[in-house]
């Protein structure tokens, strides 16, 4: 059976991981390749690298990093952050990335999704959706959660799939950082209403949270700090999920 995926997310700035990482068994916690290799060894099913570099040198730095990751890491990985053109994606895929994730640029210009899908195939186009719970319902926010786009999360999810997205990375900004669990209602609702896989993100604090989000229909679950600080080690998490009847790769 197809298994649910556990995905650590690494934030990258100028080719280095930026969020605090605490592992005794790696030499350089800022080295994304070393950290990625450790996660692969622990049983991570995929990796996401989110590039937050904001310099003119960005493209070159990212290309070189993607190449190094692909050289040493034998599981799939997605690269996101500031991708706004077909040329950006071509370079990343040519150097060994498996998927790219687009967010604000797709809101700004939805045709980008279709251009990427027809050029490279839907399977490598992940659309990241940042959503917040408002009194009216779940809405889509852009620019790192600062701008209310006026879009409803479910409507936008359906539209990006229509446009050619092969996967949705759904981050609840209301849950992110709380460690109180994923946003089960909107994750479940979108999972049931689109034909592509949905990655749940934001709010993971313990093993039970992963079980909960898989039970409402998420295909994959992403987290960062709880993996970086070994609060929820991946091998134990996967064992727990398997014991609770979730199809998982061990």
């Amino acid at each position: 059976m197809l298994t649910k995926r556990i995905i650590p997310c690494l934030d990258i700035k100028n080719g280095r991981t930026v969020k605090g990482v605490r592992f005794e068994d790696i030499r350089d916690a800022g080295d994304p390749v070393e950290l990625a290799a450790l996660y692969a060894k622990q049983g991570a099913d995929e990796l996401v690298f989110l590039d937050i570099t904001a310099t003119n040198e960005k493209r070159k730095t990212l290309r070189e990093l993607v190449r190094e990751i692909a050289r040493y890491i034998d599981i799939p990985f997605t690269v996101g952050g500031g991708i706004s053109a077909v040329e950006d994606v071509e370079v990343l895929l040519q150097n060994g990335a498996d998927k790219v994730s687009v967010n604000s640029s797709a809101i700004h210009r939805p045709d980008l999704i279709t251009e990427l899908a027809s050029r490279f195939g839907s399977q490598c186009v992940t659309v990241a959706i940042d959503t917040k719970s408002t009194p009216e319902g779940w809405k889509v926010f852009s620019k790192a959660g600062t701008v209310d786009t006026g879009l409803w999360a479910l409507d936008w999810a359906k539209e990006v799939v229509e446009l050619g997205a092969g996967e949705i990375l759904l981050t609840s900004m209301s849950n992110d950082g709380t460690k109180n669990g994923f946003a089960l209602d909107i994750t479940g609702e979108i999972s049931r209403n689109v034909i592509v896989p949905v990655i749940a993100s934001g709010g993971a604090g313990n093993q039970q949270h992963f079980l909960d989000v898989f039970e409402v229909g998420a295909d994959a679950a992403l987290a960062a700090s709880i993996f970086h600080f070994q609060e929820v080690p991946i091998p134990g998490l996967k064992q727990y999920l398997a014991e609770n009847k979730i199809d998982i790769r061990i």
Partner: protein
Amino acid sequence: MKIVIVDYKAGNVQSVLFALERLGAQATVTSNAEEIQSADKVIFPGVGEASSAMRALKVNNLDQLLPTLTQPFLGVCLGMQLLCQHSEEGDTVMLGIIPVPVKKFDAAVKVPHMGWNNLHHLKSDLFTGINEDEYAYFVHSFYAPVTEHTIAQSSYPEPFSAALQYKNFYAVQFHTEKSGPAGAHILQNFLNL
């Protein structure tokens, strides 16, 4: 040993080159007929869409050349589907090397079929040392059904061909280059053929 990767601008060539590098092997990426014919092993990767891939193959007459090859040949992902007869993707006539059709997954499941799934009913030297139910990484929306040419199956939820073999033509639907140590092992088995 001379290994070539067929060049038709298929996208994920670099990942395959790195996977070979991790096994201590080197390969040449080429669309040159003589280079391909004289190789000991030919690898045919691919991601993307069927009809545009077939068009790209025709540019260098690779559609004529590939069926005539006699050395061990490995199609990967779209590279596997291109070896088949016909694909429902874009109603495309494929290379017709392996007499199997390519169909779209049923609307009842999520597509793409994306992630780790297990391999079962393993046959052939390609899977020497690989355990039944070993996991491999898949990402595809179309599939080849199980036929007499199937050498590995996977299920989503119905069984489909995770790998095919016809004479010297081997083909895998999953990505050997992204399937961890098991994928590397399968790639090494191919190099050992």
